[in-house]
């Protein structure tokens, strides 16, 4: 290697390592702080290692930190998030797969129009739709219930998920459907017996997109879930607000933040390629 080439190589690695530090530091700081005790977190630089690391802050965040007047920690909210995410994801995947199948393989007239109608909705900011939705739910008597928050997640998740399934199904040979029809199978039989077994990969991609989207949502949870079904992201945001008013317990805040971040982070680390395909799928136009 020439000297110039060597210098270039060194510069390249220097750049990569510095950038990697920039990306890693916030997470490292959050973890370090969460392992400290309250005084240490308040008094000493965030870059110092904890003197006696323990998980005290995590257990406090989980079971006794105060969110507003409710001092039962965010553990309960964690389960709220789990329920909302599980329900919203399974319902949207089911609908999206059926929709995608119907739109892709049945030569329906105006299938393009339906897809277009759906996709326009995906690119419109939520802010222009939330107030009327609140009023509709109020009229229907389900405002700030589990049902309401799940319905809005399904509503706003459907376009992209439908597009993902539809784009995958369009690539399947149409003869598959023809053969199954000659064999006497109906729409739902073909879907269940022929299409679903082929959908595993695309369902994983769509599922990851949906799980991270719903879990990480703040706005919809804030407005539509109400006190009983408040998801974790909403609680953790107001948790910090409370703690800073009294004696700030940044270690607990950061522990709660980390707990909120953990499920999608684990999903990311475990699912690798699928995750990337999921988060980028949103931009693939049909």
């Amino acid at each position: 290697m020439t000297p110039a080439g060597r210098a270039g190589r060194i510069g390249l690695y220097l750049f990569l390592v510095t950038t990697a530090l920039f990306f890693a530091i916030p997470l490292v700081i959050v973890v370090l702080t969460a392992l400290k005790d309250a005084d240490e977190a308040r008094g000493a630089s965030i870059f110092l290692l904890p003197r006696s690391p323990d998980l005290e802050a995590f257990s406090k965040a989980w079971s006794s930190a105060c969110i507003g007047r409710d001092c039962n920690g965010i553990g309960g909210r964690f389960w709220n998030s789990v329920v909302i995410t599980a329900l919203a994801t399974s319902i949207s995947l089911l609908l999206a797969s059926l929709n995608g199948f119907a739109l892709a393989l049945w030569n329906l007239r105006r299938a393009g129009l339906v897809l277009g109608l759906l996709l326009v909705g995906a690119f419109v900011p939520y802010q222009i739709m939330i107030y009327p939705l609140v009023r509709m739910f109020a009229v229907g008597g389900i405002h700030q219930t589990l049902a309401a928050v799940v319905i809005v997640h399904v509503l706003f998740g459907l376009p992209i998920l439908t597009l993902i399934f539809r784009n995958y199904y369009v690539g399947l040979p149409p003869e598959l459907i023809k053969a199954a029809r000659v064999d006497g199978a109906g729409f739902f039989q073909i879907w269940r017996l022929v299409i679903l077994p082929l959908s595993l990969n695309v369902a994983i991609v769509a599922g990851i997109l949906s799980v991270t989207g719903v879990w990480n949502d703040y706005l919809l949870g804030l407005i539509f879930s109400g006190q009983n079904w408040q998801p974790m992201t909403v609680s953790v945001a107001s948790l910090s607000a409370t703690a800073s008013s009294g004696v700030p317990e940044q270690n607990v805040n950061m522990a709660a933040t980390l707990l909120t971040a953990l499920p999608p982070l684990l999903l990311y680390l475990l699912s690798g390629k699928y995750f990337v395909r999921g988060v980028t799928a949103g931009a693939v136009k049909g």
Partner: protein
């Protein structure tokens, strides 16, 4: 006569169509309608013409929020694209440990904007955060008190936003770089074209569709930028870091000005429509090129 599978297929779409027509289009029209009424805590149906729009445009907080949309949006998208492109090209040089770097650059995308905001607020806090650390290294006068400065707090949003999303751009563009035919590189070498010129004149133009994809994804984040602002600055100091998304939610649910919030939402929608038309043009230009 038996129901044909096509009829079933059509029938299967009905719930979704209803959901969309009512949920999206009904809501949009309703909101646009409300923007012409003087509704405050509850919707009223009295016609107020463009009153709400006039009030909105003369509201200083809206002016700041709307300007911030472009300041934040421009910087966030610009830095994300630049950083993402640089990282993608760096990783394309056959570096060792590529997947480790990739994992580190991309993990923030898995986090919510709330988590991002909280982490960065902690990192940027003036007493024990980054500023304190740099000062302890001997730079006594170093000041990074971005969060409490009305002029500069907006940059914290940009930093945290870029930290969150640059990895996404990197991964999309890197995939694009990897899909460039090796023959093209060989042809460039045969012709004696330096690598950086190959990138600039040959490879980057091929990445254009992916850049547009990134633009769309990042643009959506900008328009929806509510969570990050709430978690990082709360819109402050004052309302210096307010954005339309937050302005709208606050006026709907805290300040009880439904009419005004609806007018703001309608303007935001209009803005998005115009921006999408622009992206459409860019896409077409990419195809023509």
């Amino acid at each position: 006569m038996a129901i044909t599978p096509q009829a079933t297929a059509r029938f299967v779409l009905v719930p979704t169509i209803l959901l969309t027509v009512v949920g999206y289009y009904g809501s949009i029209l309703w909101t646009i309608g409300l923007s012409f009424t003087p509704s405050r805590i509850l919707p009223v149906s009295r016609w107020a013409g463009l009153d709400m729009y006039e009030r909105l445009l003369s509201t200083e907080r809206w002016q700041v929020a709307y300007t911030n949309l472009f300041v934040f949006g421009g910087l966030y998208i610009g830095f994300c694209l630049a950083a993402g492109l640089l990282l993608a090209i760096a990783l394309d040089q056959g570096v060792k440990g590529r997947s480790v770097y990739q994992t580190i650059f991309l993990y923030p995308i898995a986090l919510s904007f709330i988590v991002t905001g909280l982490a960065w607020r902690w990192l940027l806090n003036p007493t024990t955060g980054l500023q304190d650390y740099v000062r302890s290294l001997g730079f006594e006068s170093f000041s990074l008190d971005l969060l409490s400065s009305p002029e500069r707090a907006i940059f914290t949003l940009v930093i945290a936003g870029v930290w969150h999303s640059a990895g996404l751009v990197m991964v999309i563009l890197f995939a694009g770089l990897q899909s460039v035919d090796q023959e093209i590189w060989r042809a460039g070498r045969v012709d004696g074209i330096p690598r950086h010129r190959m990138y600039r004149h040959v490879v980057l133009p091929m990445l254009w569709p992916m850049v547009v994809t990134c633009l769309v994804l990042l643009g959506m984040n900008v328009v929806r930028s509510y969570d990050l602002v709430v978690a990082l600055t709360g819109g402050g100091p004052g309302f210096s870091t307010d954005v339309p998304a937050k302005f709208i939610v606050d006026h709907y649910f805290e300040r009880q000005s439904v009419g005004l919030a609806s007018a703001a939402a309608t303007l935001l929608l209009l803005t998005v429509v115009v921006l999408f038309a622009l992206v459409g043009l860019l896409r077409r230009r990419g195809e023509a090129a």
